[in-house]
Symmetry: C2
Subunit: 257 residues, 2 copies
């Protein structure tokens, strides 16, 4: 009940604070233990997962809405966010969500509001996994957590298409510029960086070729060496050289096909 | 008067057919006589120019809205259109336009509708100049015509920012893939292609270097030669090899910085 009346508060009385027909959805990528991760929220009345998303307040810009929504879901303030596509198909209605409300007058207004057609502005975010505190809203969603991108559950609405499209844009970004500065703690090894690239590209890369190309870019700075394990040589630790990274971002690089 | 009542019809009685708060604006690029051109419409009550734009019907997708709007302004059915950014700043209101309506009850509704905050989905289009029949709506705008991109008048609203951002995206596209197949009639000369590239990049390119790079891409097919003028050698005519052009679009190319 308490949970329900809070959702009324959000979608009913407060609905006037938001622009109708407009949503923001965020594809949040992280990297942990050699896997590309994605942050998902769980709709408890539907027992299904979706991207973190929300609506746009009349007094905030689109970018501000995306940052506010992600701050609520991650507890992070400064997130590297890219607006990548606006989804405007005809079937973008939250009818399923609308059906989750009961037939009361209060919930009727909220149900009517959400079951209108929505156009959604898609953002993707690249974050350092370790900095995020996944946080559900406690109203419509009761869980928020990282999933492996490859083995994530099928998503609600058209959110799987949103993920695919974000990955396409990220692949292009990765082919023509550096990627990773927002996703790693200060230091990382080349095998870790390679696994990030492999996760985005969804294919294996040749180790020696990858390492040569990355080092040739001149954006990595060697800062130490891990302890060796058994007979394997200990991998070096690197960090991004920020000015050179930013120059590569600005001027473009080519990693070939 | 007739013009005014038609604008009421569009923005008043018919307003329910459109999603509120949402617009589409289009940056249409063409190429003619060595100059990169942009299609603009003239608001006669304001005596100012803007990008062609419009609203989104409840029964059409965003892409369909963009195509419908450009069909009205160009009389062209199949246009190469790219959604490139959604503009969601706080000051995106058509207050100026709203003030163009008189104080009557009929026009009041239209004025109220347009002076709300609008989020605008930006598309850019690359078209063959010769195919376009510029067509104003005859209601709010009384002229529609090509301007040289470089010497265009300052635009209404935030449309200059929209043009700059479209150019940025087009520059990136041009650096990593071929551009031009939609902008030229069947055949063209290398100097014409170079002037298109120079127009997009807003800087001069070295002729020999440009020609070598373009020919090395293998996407051009030589199909003839213009008649020579005076002592200058007649330039060759080229057309794009469509399958190779499409492969280059898919796989990416690098023209360097």
């Amino acid at each position: 009940m308490a949970e329900r009346s809070r959702s009324i508060e959000f979608l009913g009385a407060e609905a006037n604070a938001f622009l109708p027909h407009l949503a923001v959805d965020c594809v949040v990528f992280g990297f942990h233990e050699g896997e590309l991760k994605i942050l998902l929220t769980h709709w408890h009345r539907r027992q299904r997962w979706s991207l973190p998303g929300g609506f746009v307040r009349r007094d905030e810009t689109l970018d501000e809405a995306a940052h506010r929504i992600l701050r609520m879901r991650t507890q992070l303030d400064h997130i590297y966010l890219v607006q990548y596509h606006t989804f405007g198909g005809l079937n973008r209605r939250d009818e399923v969500i609308a059906h989750m409300f009961d037939g009361s007058a209060e919930e009727g207004a909220a149900a009517a509001w959400v079951q209108e057609r929505f156009v959604s502005v898609g953002y993707y975010a690249l974050v350092d996994w370790a900095d995020v505190t996944p946080t559900p809203d406690g109203m419509l969603t009761d869980d928020c957590r990282w999933w492996d991108l490859r083995t994530r559950p099928p998503l609600l609405f058209d959110h799987d298409e949103m993920v695919e499209r974000a990955l396409c844009v990220l692949r292009t970004q990765l082919r023509h510029g550096p990627v990773g500065i927002n996703m790693f703690p200060k230091t990382f090894t080349l095998p870790e960086l390679q696994r990030l690239y492999e996760g985005v590209l969804d294919r294996q890369l040749d180790r020696r070729n990858f390492q040569k190309k990355m080092l040739d870019l001149g954006i990595l700075e060697r800062v130490g060496q891990l302890r060796g394990e058994g007979v394997r040589r200990a991998p070096y630790l690197y960090r991004f050289d920020v000015p050179k990274y930013e120059a590569a971002l600005r001027d473009g690089i080519s990693l070939g096909r």
